[in-house]
Symmetry: C2
């Protein structure tokens, strides 16, 4: 990740079965704005353009009903997963979007393997699905909290790679974004929520416990990104201290993925040619 001027520069190097895949978040400045167009105003204009383009792409995806697109959003508390969904998909037809939030697993979900609840929510042909948190929580949280051993976690990385490979083999384009904020930025955002009583419903004092484990979570993310960034399901690290930049970058990433699918409307139906409705 030497030069930081293209989306590829923010892509986590692909996992190498033989080598020792490593990745450091220290190489990515969470305050960087490589995809900013210069000012907040012009960024917002660009975002509106991206939104309209995504809407048009989604309609073709839906019309064709062949491909599937999955966007996975991960990041520390307050990193902006909800805000991204709201801002980037504002222009996209709500009919064309399925958003799946993954919370702490229920008893029934825990009674199955960790991919069980995720698999059932995978996008169907023609669907654009967003995972708001995902199966990656299950290699981050229990590992940091010490209830999942390193060996077991590493096996899960393997399960994830094979699961995502299968989705990709069946026509799913997978885009995974880690929303990268600094520890200082998180402090400011948490404090702002605490200082606004109407935002208290959004969290609990116990949410501050995860912040105390910040370094462990960052290291766990580095392991997870290194082990599961693949050609068929790459991870991108998104500098996210600036909300506007975060939105534009994720929008650009998604739009380029859509464009690479070269989606077209299905051909006209001969059977409808010249039909006059009575």
């Amino acid at each position: 990740m030497a030069k930081k001027n293209g989306l590829d520069e923010y892509r986590v190097p692909f996992f190498d079965e033989d080598g020792k895949s490593k990745f450091s978040l220290a190489g990515v400045d969470p305050s960087a704005k490589p995809f900013s167009t210069g000012s907040k105003d012009s960024d917002r204009e660009r975002l509106a353009e991206i939104g309209a383009a995504l809407d048009a792409q989604q309609e073709r995806l839906h019309a064709q009903r062949v491909q599937r697109v999955l966007l996975v959003l991960q990041g520390m508390d307050t990193s902006g997963k909800d805000g991204t969904i709201r801002a980037v998909f504002h222009e996209v037809d709500p009919l064309g979007l399925r958003i799946v939030p993954f919370k702490a697993p229920t008893l029934n979900e825990l009674a199955h393997d960790f991919l069980w609840r995720v698999h059932s929510q995978a996008p169907a042909a023609g669907e654009l699905t967003i995972f708001n948190r995902s199966h990656y929580e299950d290699v981050l949280v229990p590992y940091v909290l010490g209830t999942l051993s390193k060996d077991e976690r590493d096996r899960r990385f393997g399960h994830i790679r094979e699961f995502e490979r299968m989705l990709a083999d069946h026509g799913t384009t997978i885009i995974k974004c880690m929303l990268h904020i600094s520890k200082d930025e998180q402090r400011e955002r948490l404090q702002a929520r605490i200082d606004d009583p109407t935002k208290h419903w959004k969290f609990d004092v116990s949410d501050l416990d995860a912040r105390k484990l910040w370094d462990k979570y960052q290291a766990a993310y580095e392991d997870a990104l290194a082990a599961t960034s693949t050609e068929y399901a790459p991870w991108h690290v998104v500098p996210a201290n600036s909300k506007t930049h975060r939105n534009v970058m994720i929008g650009e990433l998604l739009l380029r993925s859509f464009e690479s699918l070269k989606l077209e409307f299905p051909p006209a139906k001969e059977s409808l040619k010249g039909v006059i409705v009575e």
Copy 2:
């Protein structure tokens, strides 16, 4: 439905267990625009206001996680169910919206009672859910096609009333809209789709068969509306030849239902008072 100047005037009279509930669609002009503000431009402004207000209401609904809101959209082909969702909910946070399309039942769905697939999609506490078609298809389509007897259908009406009563008893606000267009309007809309090859994917020649049964479907709708409009789950007939009017009226209806819930953000948490994030 004598005077047509308020939402109540478009509400289908409540089902009366003892009387003979009847309802005629002939009394509602599909070209009427009772909720228009005067011009298309001002209607669009009003719709943007409604959208922003719905967004604010939805956030409170979500914050409180007590109430549930269910919007049911029904209508003939091309009556504008998809267009309504797109236009009315444009401003609403996609995170706060769950849209459930009901298509022809699958083999597995047919192997259960007709409410089985519907019940599993009912809104959870804090959710705003839209049914794009619904359990009403199962008292309309098979009855018109002759595969469901009148007796069996009337029993289903009873099942629907009791099912919706139970949802309402558990805190669900149910709003049901029949998008009412004229047969001429449908002809124009179908013809426009046929004349635009990029829209062919939206339908099949066999879709025209339903149009041939127009009168039977209208009568079936009248029976269904009369039998299932209740105090806890009223039907409204929405004049829908004008798309802008349709959007404004459904928006107003939904907004007034939300307002009657008097939703507030949950109170501030004492445990967060004065907390400084480190």
